[in-house]
C-alpha cells in the first residue's frame, strides 16, 4: 500500500492512492484509452465491447469535449489534450507535491483518498518510543518499524469479563430436551391455566374422591370457569367415570358433574399435557414429552416450591408391556441421569395401573428417586380415542438439576443473585 504525504500550508495531510488510481498509473486513464480505440466513428455497442472501463471513459471523454454521440455511434471530436490526473498520480506515487485543485479532482474521481491528519501526527510522534497500543496509523504507514513494542506481563490473569450466558437451569433443561429428542420424543405444549377436566377428569380422577387429593392443587379466584372440549370426548369421559363406558371397568359409580370439570386451576402436573395430546391425536407408535411449569400449594422448603418444572411424557405402542416400560425407564436413568444401577418399586398414581417408581444409583449422588411411571388406565386412554397401551412417565429433573448445579436448596434454581449466575460454569 502506497501512502503519499502532501504538505499544504495547513499542516500534514495523507493522500493515499486507491487501487483504481494505481491501475490508471499503469494503464492510463479510461478516457485516454477510449480515444486510442476511436480512430473513426464506431457503433456504441462495439466500443462498449472493446473499451475497458467504458462507462467511466465515456463520461469523462464527453465532459472534456473529446467525443460526441451521433445516433448510435461515437466519434472523436478532437485530439486529447494531456490529462493532468495521470501526471498527478505519478507525482503522488513518487512522493512529490501536486496542486491542491488537482488533488481534489483526484479525490472526486476516487483515485485518491484523504486521511485524517491528527492520527498521523500522533503516530509520527511515537517514532523512537516504546509503545503499548499499536494505533492503525503505525501499522499502515509502516512507522511500526520505528517504534519499540513494550513487552507485557503475559502471564498475568486477564481482567474479569462477564459473557452473556443462558441460565444454568435452562441449559440443563435444554440438555434433557436434547436427550429426549435423541430418544425419539416430540415436544408437547399445553396451557398454564387448565380446566379440572384436563388436569383430573380426563385422567380418570373421580370428582369428590380421594384420588383427586393425590396432589394439593391451587384454585383460582378469577377466572373461575372455562369451557369443556367437544361433546364426544366429554360424554365418553363422563361415561368412564360413571360406569366405565366400554372399557370393561366398573367406573367410579357416581354422577359426574360437568360444572366441576369446567372449573379452572393452574396446571398441577405435566400429565395434563399428555391427556390433551392423546385427545388431539397421536402417532402410533409415538413418543411425546413436555417440560412444563407446574403449581402446587406446598409448604415451601429446601426441597419443595410452589412452582417447579416437571418433565413428563408418553409412549404409545401396540406391543408395550410392563417389562418394556421398565426397560425404557432404565434407559432414561442411564442416558439422562448417568446412573449405573436401577431398582423398581411399586408406586401409586391415580391414572396409571400398574405404577412403578424407579430409583437410580448415580456414581456420585448415590440412590435417588429418579422417575415415576405407569401404564395409563384404560378408562383414561380409551375415552380419549387411544386403544393401544400408553406408558406415562415423569422424571425428577429438579433434583438432578440441583445436583448438577451443586445446590442444596430448590429455591436457588430461580436464584436472583447475578454473581451466582455470572460465576456458574457452562456445563457440557
Amino acid at each position: 500500500m502506497e501512502t503519499n504525504i502532501y504538505s499544504s500550508g495547513r499542516g500534514v495531510v495523507i493522500y493515499r492512492i486507491t487501487d483504481e488510481g494505481r491501475r490508471y498509473i499503469r494503464e492510463g486513464l479510461p478516457e485516454e484509452r477510449l480515444l486510442k480505440i476511436l480512430k473513426k466513428p464506431m457503433l456504441i455497442v462495439e466500443v462498449r465491447r472493446k473499451a475497458k472501463d467504458f462507462t467511466i471513459a465515456l463520461a469523462w471523454a464527453k465532459k472534456r469535449g473529446w467525443v460526441k454521440i451521433e445516433k448510435n455511434r461515437i466519434a472523436a471530436v478532437k485530439a486529447p489534450a494531456k490529462a493532468e490526473e495521470k501526471e498527478a498520480l505519478k507525482r503522488l506515487a513518487q512522493g512529490k507535491t501536486v496542486p491542491e485543485k488537482t488533488l481534489s479532482l483526484l479525490v472526486r474521481r476516487k483515485l485518491v483518498v484523504k486521511e485524517k491528519e491528527d492520527a498521523f501526527r500522533r503516530a509520527e510522534k511515537l517514532i523512537g518510543k516504546e509503545v503499548n497500543a499499536l494505533p492503525p496509523e503505525l501499522i499502515k504507514t509502516g512507522l511500526w518499524k520505528k517504534v519499540k513494542m513494550r513487552p507485557y506481563n503475559v502471564e498475568a490473569v486477564g481482567p474479569v469479563i462477564y459473557p452473556g450466558k443462558r441460565h444454568p437451569y435452562n441449559r440443563f433443561l435444554s440438555d434433557v430436551r436434547d436427550k429426549l429428542v435423541q430418544l425419539g420424543f416430540k415436544e408437547m405444549e399445553g396451557p398454564t391455566i387448565e380446566s379440572e377436566f384436563w388436569n383430573f377428569d380426563a385422567l380418570f380422577q373421580a370428582q369428590n374422591h380421594p384420588s383427586r387429593d393425590w396432589t394439593q392443587t391451587y384454585t383460582l379466584k378469577k377466572p373461575k370457569t372455562g369451557s369443556l372440549p367437544s361433546p364426544d370426548i366429554v360424554s365418553r369421559v363422563k361415561a368412564a367415570h360413571e360406569n366405565g363406558w366400554k372399557t370393561g371397568s366398573t367406573g367410579w359409580g357416581y354422577k359426574w358433574d360437568p360444572a366441576k370439570a369446567a372449573q379452572l386451576m393452574p396446571r398441577a402436573h405435566g400429565t395434563a399435557c399428555s391427556a390433551r395430546q392423546l385427545a388431539s391425536g397421536v402417532e402410533v407408535p409415538g413418543k411425546y414429552f413436555a417440560i412444563k411449569r407446574c403449581f402446587r400449594p406446598d409448604v415451601i422448603d429446601a426441597t419443595h416450591g410452589v412452582e417447579f418444572n416437571q418433565c413428563e411424557g408418553i409412549i404409545i405402542d401396540e406391543s408395550m408391556t410392563f417389562r418394556k416400560m421398565l426397560g425404557m425407564l432404565k434407559m432414561f436413568a442411564m442416558e439422562i441421569a448417568g446412573a449405573d444401577d436401577v431398582r423398581f418399586y411399586p408406586d401409586y398414581y391415580p391414572f396409571t395401573e400398574p405404577s412403578v417408581q424407579l430409583s437410580a444409583k448415580h456414581p456420585d449422588m448415590g440412590w435417588i428417586e429418579f422417575a415415576g411411571a405407569g401404564i395409563f388406565r384404560p378408562e383414561l386412554t380409551e375415552p380419549l380415542g387411544v386403544k393401544q397401551p400408553v406408558i406415562a412417565w415423569g422424571l425428577g429433573i429438579d433434583r438432578l438439576a440441583m445436583f448438577r448445579l451443586g445446590i442444596k436448596d430448590i429455591r436457588q434454581l430461580f436464584s436472583q443473585d447475578i454473581d451466582w449466575l455470572r460465576k456458574q460454569k457452562v456445563m457440557i
Binding site: E189, T192, S211, P297, K330
Partner: protein, 556 residues
C-alpha cells in the same frame, strides 16, 4: 400416600413368622406397596404408596399381604359376621347434612398397646386421606357397653343439646364445641352453613358423637380395657363408607375380635353392615400376559394371586377370582394385573429395552425461544429465570401502572405468589433490585411464558411466550437499548418500527411501541425514576419486552 408407624415385633406376630428386617425392607414391604422410610428402635416408619388401598395402612393389613409370601397363608382371608341385634335409625333430616352411616360391632377384643395405637392410627389415616379430611368419611369408635340401643343418627339445632366432648370435662353445646374445642375449630368448616348438626344419640339420650367433629368423652373413649366396640362411619357415599368400615373391622378381627352386624334403618329400607362378602371378578390370562409381559401360565398366575390374598380358580382362558370386602379399588382387570406383578416381584421382572423407532423434535415455540436467547446472549445479556407466580404489587403498583386484569389464585400459600405474571419486565426489575451492590453494568434477559386473561379462550386465559431484556448502569441509555433491539430484530430477520408512546412505567418521551406490520408486538423505554425509587434501584434502567412468536412471524 400416608405415612404410618408400625411395631416390628407386633407386625411379625400378626404374620406369624419371623421376617428378617433386611428382607422386610428390601422385599417384603413392597408386597404392601410400601417403603421403609425410617427405623427407630422397634418402630418402623412406613410410606404407604397407594391412596386407594386403606386396607394397607395398618400393621394388620400389611401382615395379611406378608402372610401370603412368608407364612404360607394364602387365598381369601375369611371373616364371619354374626348379628348383634343393634339397630341404628337414620333420620331423613340428614339428607343434605350428612345422610349416610354404616356401622359394626366387634366383641371380645384384647386391645393391647399396639392394637390400640394401630386402631387409632388407621382411623385417623382413613378419615384424613381416604375420607378427604373427614369430609367424605368420618369414623367413630365407642365402648359398646356404655351404649343403649337402638341408636339414632339425627340432627339437632346448634345449641339444642349438651354433652361432654372427648378430653373435656364440662358439657357443651355443638355450637360451643365448634368455637372452643380444638377439633371443633379445626373441622367447623365441614358444618358451615347448616342450621342443624348431625348427632349420634342412644336410647338413653346419651350423645355418642357430633360427626364429623368429635366423640363424647363418656361413650367415645376406647382404652386397653375396652372389650367390645361399636364403630360407625358417616358420610355421603356407600362406595367410600363400606370399604372404610370393612377395613377397620377386618383389622380388629385379625386381632381376634368377633365381628357382629348392625341394622342401619333408612326409613323402610334396612342396610345390614358390615358386609364382609367377598367381591367377584375374573382375569383374562392372555390380557394379563399382554400387559405384564411376564408370560406366566395359568397355574403360576393363580398361585401368585392367592399369595396376594385372592381366591383363584382357573376356568379355560380365565381365572375366576374372589377378593376381600375391604377392597374397593378393583374396577378393571388392569388392577388385578398390578397385584399379579407385585406378587411376582418388581425386582424379579426383567426389563426389556423396547425398540420403537420414532422421530423426535422440540416444539416450534421452544425453537424460537432458543433462537431469541442465542441472539441475546451474543449481545452479552445474562439470562435469568423467575417464578411465573407473583403479586399485584410487583406487577402494578411498583411499575407505576394502574391495576389491570390478571389471573388470580384463591388458596394462596403466600401473598407474594398470588397472581400470574402478565409481563416479564417486573421480574427483571425485581432481579435488578436484588443486585444493587453487584458490579455494573448489568445486562439481563428472560424468555418465558406470561398468562393473559382471555374470556374467549377455553381455559379463560392464554399463555404468551415473551422476551424481556434490561440493562442498567451509569451511562446506559435509551439509544443503547434501541440498538440492542434493532440488532435483535435484524438478526431474526424481522422488519419493525418504533412509534413514540407513553406508558407510566417509562419516562415520558423515552418510550416507544415496537410494531411489526402495523401491529404492536412490544415496548421499549427507559424506566421512570419513580419506578426505580419504588424498587430501590439506584442506576438508570432501559428495557424492552416483546412477544416472541409475534416477533418471529415475519421472519424469512
Amino acid at each position: 400416600m400416608p405415612t404410618i408407624e408400625v411395631n416390628y415385633e407386633d407386625l411379625q406376630e400378626l404374620v406369624g413368622k419371623h421376617i428378617p428386617l433386611d428382607v422386610l425392607q428390601e422385599e417384603g414391604i413392597m408386597y404392601a406397596k410400601g417403603e421403609v422410610d425410617e427405623i427407630e428402635g422397634e418402630t418402623l416408619k412406613l410410606d404407604m404408596k397407594d391412596t386407594n388401598r386403606p386396607d394397607l395402612w395398618s400393621a394388620e393389613g400389611i401382615a395379611r399381604e406378608l402372610q401370603g409370601r412368608y407364612a404360607g397363608i394364602t387365598g381369601l382371608p375369611e371373616y364371619n359376621v354374626q348379628p348383634s341385634g343393634l339397630v341404628v335409625k337414620v333420620d331423613r333430616k340428614l339428607k343434605n347434612i350428612r345422610p349416610l352411616t354404616v356401622c359394626a360391632v366387634v366383641k371380645n377384643l384384647n386391645i393391647n398397646h399396639n392394637a390400640l395405637s394401630q386402631m387409632i392410627q388407621l382411623q385417623e389415616k382413613i378419615s384424613m386421606t381416604f375420607g378427604r379430611n373427614r369430609k367424605e368419611v368420618a369414623i367413630g369408635v365407642y365402648d359398646f357397653h356404655k351404649i343403649k340401643g337402638p341408636i339414632r343418627f339425627t340432627s339437632v339445632k346448634p345449641n339444642g343439646i349438651r354433652f361432654v366432648p372427648l378430653e373435656f370435662t364440662k358439657p357443651m353445646t355443638p355450637e360451643e364445641i365448634l368455637k372452643k374445642h380444638p377439633k371443633g375449630r379445626e373441622y367447623a368448616h365441614l358444618l358451615e352453613g347448616f342450621h342443624e348438626y348431625p348427632i349420634f344419640i342412644d336410647s338413653a339420650g346419651e350423645v355418642l358423637s357430633l360427626p364429623p367433629i368429635i366423640n363424647s368423652n363418656h361413650t367415645g373413649k376406647v382404652t386397653t380395657a375396652t372389650r367390645d366396640v361399636f364403630i360407625e362411619c358417616s358420610g355421603f357415599d356407600f362406595r367410600l363408607l363400606m370399604p372404610a368400615l370393612n377395613t377397620i373391622v377386618a383389622a380388629l378381627a385379625d386381632r381376634g375380635g368377633e365381628v357382629q352386624s348392625v341394622k342401619v334403618e333408612y326409613g323402610s329400607r334396612t342396610v345390614v353392615t358390615p358386609d364382609m362378602k367377598p367381591g367377584k371378578t375374573s382375569l383374562d390370562i392372555d390380557y394379563a400376559n399382554m400387559i405384564s409381559g411376564l408370560n406366566l401360565d395359568a397355574r403360576k398366575m393363580s398361585m401368585l394371586l392367592k399369595q396376594a390374598r385372592y381366591d383363584a380358580k382357573v376356568r379355560g382362558k380365565k381365572i375366576d377370582l374372589l377378593y376381600p370386602a375391604y377392597r374397593q379399588d378393583i374396577m378393571h382387570q388392569r388392577d388385578i394385573v398390578e397385584d399379579l406383578i407385585i406378587s411376582y416381584g418388581f425386582g424379579r421382572a426383567e426389563p426389556v429395552i423396547p425398540k420403537i423407532q420414532t422421530a423426535g423434535g422440540v416444539s416450534r415455540l421452544q425453537k424460537l425461544t432458543d433462537t431469541a436467547a442465542e441472539v441475546m446472549t451474543g449481545m452479552q445479556f445474562q439470562e435469568i429465570m423467575s417464578y411465573m407466580l407473583t403479586n399485584k404489587g410487583a406487577l402494578f403498583e411498583k411499575m407505576g401502572m394502574p391495576k389491570g386484569s390478571v389471573v388470580e389464585i384463591e388458596n394462596t400459600v403466600s401473598a407474594n405468589w398470588s397472581v400470574f405474571r402478565d409481563r416479564l419486565l417486573p421480574g427483571l426489575l425485581e432481579f435488578l433490585s436484588k443486585n444493587k451492590h453487584r458490579e455494573y453494568p448489568q445486562r439481563i434477559f428472560e424468555s418465558g411464558d406470561v398468562v393473559i386473561p382471555d374470556s374467549k379462550a377455553e381455559t379463560g386465559a392464554v399463555d404468551r411466550r415473551h422476551l424481556s431484556a434490561a440493562a442498567s448502569g451509569s451511562g446506559v441509555g435509551y439509544e443503547y437499548m434501541a440498538g440492542v433491539l434493532n440488532a435483535f430484530m435484524k438478526n431474526i430477520g424481522t422488519d419493525f418500527s418504533l412509534k413514540a408512546s407513553n406508558y407510566p412505567s417509562f419516562i415520558e418521551g423515552r418510550c416507544a411501541e415496537i410494531t411489526v406490520s402495523e401491529k404492536v408486538i412490544g415496548i421499549i423505554g427507559e424506566i421512570h425514576p419513580k419506578v426505580l425509587n419504588m424498587w430501590g434501584i439506584e442506576n438508570p434502567v432501559v428495557a424492552f419486552e416483546l412477544d416472541i412468536e409475534k416477533a418471529f412471524t415475519s421472519a424469512s
